[in-house]
């Protein structure tokens, strides 16, 4: 049985149209990332080996902490406009919201830290982040130390 000569052309046309069609907006505005929560203390101790790749945590003012323990390392997937809530070790809720992916590839992110019965601990933080580069929220007292929250988003 011989194939119709025009069949290949139609397949090529369909493929071309599929490639030419713009990618769905949802796929363009969906990013992956991770949230890591570190308990940092000024008392002497060890630094978690899983943090060795985080050069910023060895620089001032983080070098005032003499021990660091990685309490959480949570992968996240964000879609623009949707909230992603994570429970922190101190019972508070970390809310992350991807506002949008910028034309230059950076992410515009909103972060807040909420408390169950009291006003928000951190009502609003807006950050512009390049893929793979973290930003940090430091300051919550917990278990004799301070929580250091790092957030890093990638494609």
């Amino acid at each position: 049985m011989r194939a119709r000569p025009g069949g290949g052309a139609l397949v090529a046309l369909a493929l071309g149209l599929a490639l030419a069609a713009p990618a769905p907006a949802a796929a363009q505005n969906r990013v992956r990332g991770e949230v890591f929560v570190v308990l940092a203390k000024e008392t002497p101790g060890t630094v978690d080996a899983r943090l060795e790749g985080m050069a910023a945590l060895r620089r001032p003012p983080f070098d005032s902490f003499r021990s660091m323990e990685l309490l959480q390392r949570q992968p996240v997937q964000l879609t623009a406009g949707d909230n992603r809530d994570l429970q922190l070790p101190n019972g508070r809720t970390l809310r992350i919201r991807l506002q949008r992916v910028m034309p230059d590839g950076r992410f515009r992110v909103e972060v807040s830290i909420k408390r169950p019965t009291r006003p928000d601990y951190l009502p609003l933080l807006q950050v512009m982040a390049s893929p793979g580069d973290p930003f940090f929220v430091v300051g919550q007292a917990h278990d004799g130390g301070t929580l250091v929250i790092g957030i890093r988003l990638t494609r």
């Binding site: 052309a9 982040a129 390049s130």
Partner: protein, 183 residues
């Protein structure tokens, strides 16, 4: 006895150029001399007709001989080889042309349908992208992270940058819980 008719008049009679009435009247009045002229015209006509037929036969004979020689020379001359185009091959050629047309159409569609964010930053829409900068200024996206806005709520705090492993600035927001931390 009637006088002889002019030859022109007899010629018109012989040629049939007179009306029926004129021809009948003339035939009734022709004498012996006129009849001899008419017979001479008839004989002359036969001679001319016979000569013309022979000439036609000669021309036809020469024409047949001429075309015979032409056909013989054509057969003797080497002819170029003709290539036969198969129907399937022609169809494939048409398909290839159609595929090329389809690809060209797809490329054109890709160009015209590519996603373009047409929003321009305005005070009413601060999240819209800024107007495109001149090409010489668009080298690459800034690296690192930076604070755009922060609301510490009931606390105090600060934000700054620390260098990352590539020297890129990394944003740090430091919240001072103050007395709350002692509670």
């Amino acid at each position: 006895m009637t006088s002889p008719r002019p030859h022109d008049t007899l010629q018109t009679l012989y040629d049939g150029e007179l009306t029926d009435g004129e021809a009948a009247e003339l035939r009734a009045s022709v004498g012996d001399e006129d009849r001899a002229v008419l017979m001479g015209l008839a004989r002359l006509s036969e001679v001319v007709r016979a000569g013309a037929g022979a000439a036609e036969e000669d021309i036809a004979g020469e024409s047949d001989a001429l075309f015979g020689r032409i056909h013989a020379e054509i057969k003797a001359t080497p002819q170029p080889r003709l290539s036969v185009i198969q129907g399937e091959r022609r169809a494939r050629g048409g398909a290839v042309a159609f595929v090329g047309l389809a690809i060209a159409a797809a490329v054109a569609l890709a160009f015209f349908l590519r996603p373009v964010d047409t929003r321009i930053a305005t005070p009413e829409d601060p999240e819209a992208p800024a107007a495109p900068a001149p090409a010489e200024h668009v080298l690459e996206a800034p690296q690192g992270t930076e604070v755009v806005q922060v609301d510490f709520g009931q606390h105090t705090g600060t934000y700054f940058e620390v260098p990352g492993d590539r020297g890129q600035p990394l944003a740090v927001v430091w919240i001072d819980e103050g007395a709350e931390a002692l509670q």
